[in-house]
Symmetry: C2
Subunit: 231 residues, 2 copies
């Protein structure tokens, strides 16, 4: 069985136009090095990325009929992230199907999470173009069945915003995160704390709570909510 | 004709389940003040937002078969932004259909761009749930026909990244943007300039070019590309 047919089996979708799937596994490094006519998978990734978000969003919307928008956004952000996509790609050995440039090949591109994740999104884009929305939805939901099921059982529910924020920022090389008590008010048995969160010396958010810890969590949550919608 | 039927006429879609459209025009301030059971339009907005992105993304993908992913992303970002959604909402007088709390009403909520834009996305989510993907696509593409046509004629092509970045940052209250020449290299007739862009004293991106101006544009473009994908 050739490479593309095997990939079709893995994603359980048969293309009318296989050149779309070939395009989806073509990394830009391959096009550049080989000086080939045509396009890498970046445009398909652009297309597939948005459909992936929409399909996962709908699954969560229906799975959690009583949850608020903030919960849905946070849960989706975890499900659609590079790590989550790369995990699915690794399980399918997507690396074996990639067309890569030699430089990228030598530096371990076949195992690189960013390349694997982008390729998955490009594959979703290709399925959409070939078979329409319902076909793409079926492929995405089948491949993410386990991840969606984990979400159903609360695996991705963020309860500790301070830790979650710290991890996000650390992944961007930012470690200077400070919580400062701005105000304590109310009688001793019913105090309210106001805390300010600063990142690299710049105030980012404030939070209120019945304990310092609660106020800090609240500030971290506020910043995460906002940063998920930047620009 | 009642309010909801008139709105159906405006968006040229007739609901099987009109409660979905009623939900889409229900602002959270209304639910809070009236102490009502049920949900505001925020969950529908979550759903519709992603489908809106996907539908506009596909339109641009097909309209510009030779353009790279970066161009498509930038163009879409302009088309799907709050201002663009609010413009369409204003043309349809969506404000007339909103269920708002009294406080929001008094403070001009019916004309507020953020509320109008969110409501449009919620309407797209409602159409998707009621009629499926093709119905949502038809509604979105009809309402954004003019905006998409403007994109076709290059209205949204960013050519001046410095200005575009400055506008984005200013809208967030950030005005401290500096470009610093780090290096000049090469012979006089073929110099290369390396420029560093800092925002509020923090280095954000570098850019290279055959002139200082070109290097600055390149740095601004790099930061914009990155910021469009933050978190």
């Amino acid at each position: 069985m050739n490479n593309i047919r095997l990939l079709e089996e893995k994603i359980n979708y048969q293309f009318h136009d296989r050149s779309l799937l070939e395009n989806a596994v073509t990394h830009s490094s391959y096009m550049k090095e080989c000086n080939r006519e045509g396009q890498s998978n970046e445009r398909l990734e652009f297309l597939g990325d948005a459909f992936f978000d929409a399909i996962i969003g709908e699954a969560l919307y229906k799975m959690f009929p009583r949850k608020e928008e903030g919960f849905l956004s946070r849960t989706r952000a975890t499900l659609v992230c590079e790590k989550s996509l790369a995990k699915v790609a690794l399980a399918l050995c997507i690396g074996d199907h990639l067309l890569l440039g030699h430089g990228e090949e030598r530096s371990g591109g076949r195992q690189r999470e960013s390349i694997l994740a982008d390729t998955m999104e490009a594959i979703f884009g290709a399925v959409y173009l070939d078979g329409g929305f319902e076909a793409a939805k079926q492929v995405v939901l089948a491949l993410f069945e386990q991840a969606i099921d984990d979400a159903r059982h609360g695996k991705y529910v963020v309860t500790d915003y301070k830790t979650a924020l710290q991890e996000k920022l650390q992944s961007q090389g930012i470690t200077d995160i400070k919580y400062e008590l701005l105000q304590e008010s109310g009688p001793d048995h019913d105090k309210t704390f106001l805390v300010q969160l600063s990142v690299e010396g710049k105030p980012q958010a404030t939070g209120q709570g019945k304990s310092k810890k609660q106020a800090e969590q609240c500030a971290a949550e506020a910043m995460m909510e906002r940063e998920m919608n930047v620009f």
